[in-house]
Subunit: 206 residues, 2 copies
């Protein structure tokens, strides 16, 4: 009994330590491009150790990474958007957490990258859930902040798409600022009350 627990904990600890590094490698190279040799080199683990922690191999590593990402977003973004009493505060927090998470555009979105290519067939359910829950949670906050149901749904979808597009553009242009500008263009549309000095199209007002 304690043996089972301790073995599970040990394996869990090894996974926990490896997952952030595995995530970066998948993020930078995609699923097919992240070879076991590369994953081993970056984590500092031999293949034996990797397979001890993730018995089903590369697919299990990617699943663990996707689960960790989902858990992070659920705790830091989705739950506050759905539950916090002040929806505008939750939306502001979403923007700042998002900018920090993606390192101001220097970091790509692993889930978005998987969605575009080979990860889609393998991890379709997790990918769909990541984006669907983001859209639904943001729409809930927008509704509570005064938007109609239809407007909230549309603006939430538009926002999540804009964030992904901003990340693509930042990587493509090698200009991380493209991501930050995307977030700042979204802010006054998500929180109209924060909009005092600029128009939605960026032109100065008054």
């Amino acid at each position: 009994m304690s043996g089972v627990v301790s073995a599970a904990s040990s394996r869990a600890r090894a996974r926990e330590a490896a997952i952030p590094v595995l995530a970066e490698v998948f993020r930078e190279h995609g699923y097919a491009g992240a070879s076991l040799a590369l994953l081993g080199a970056r984590t500092g683990l031999g293949k034996g150790s990797l397979y001890h922690a993730f018995p089903s191999g590369k697919a299990e590593m990617a699943e663990a990474v996707l689960d960790a990402i989902e858990a992070w977003f659920e705790t830091r973004l989705y739950a506050p958007l759905r539950d916090e009493s002040d929806p505008e505060a939750a939306i502001r927090r979403m923007l700042s957490e998002t900018e920090a998470y993606f390192r101001s555009g220097g970091r790509a979105c692993l889930v978005g990258a998987f969605a575009l290519t080979e990860g889609r067939d393998r991890f379709g359910d997790r990918i769909r859930r990541y984006f669907a829950v983001w859209c639904d949670s943001l729409a809930a906050a927008l509704r509570r902040s005064g938007f109609t149901d239809a407007a909230a749904k549309g603006l939430a979808e538009e926002t999540v798409a804009a964030i992904q597009g901003g990340l693509v553009l930042a990587r493509a242009l090698d200009d991380p600022g493209a991501f930050g500008r995307t977030l700042e263009r979204l802010r006054p549309r998500l929180i109209p009350g924060d909009r005092d000095r600029t128009g939605a199209d960026g032109r100065a007002v008054g």
Copy 2:
């Protein structure tokens, strides 16, 4: 001389026929995920034929595909945006051509997929140019249609990012409609005149 020309033409013809199929495979699987076996099976060509048409192998195939995509966008979208006398007509054309090209969200953007992962280091210049020229050409049309320089630049960047994000979201949610809705949300902001009542996010009316 004629021997050289005819040999070049023959090779060019083989490339021309193969490129659209190669593009689809790269689009669906990414660069690393598109194996020569798969590229050969889908084009119906043996490896010998593929290497005859593309002597430098897979990298040259991807370069040829990226060049073809750039040429298509330059002719159908970028040049009209920069040159056409009616900028709003060019922008409308951009929206309809974009929707058709990406098959209403059923098709991913190969350049965007490459930008996120392994293609970035290999094809960085082509990827950067594809997005930079799109942004610049659209900004030129927006300026001619009445936007200030700063507003045109910002809205162009926002538009190109939104298109990419719409494609990511459509693939992720397995809901092509997410792409079409993205385009329709962009339309009234790009062409305020197409909107009956111009609101706060459009240009001033009257």
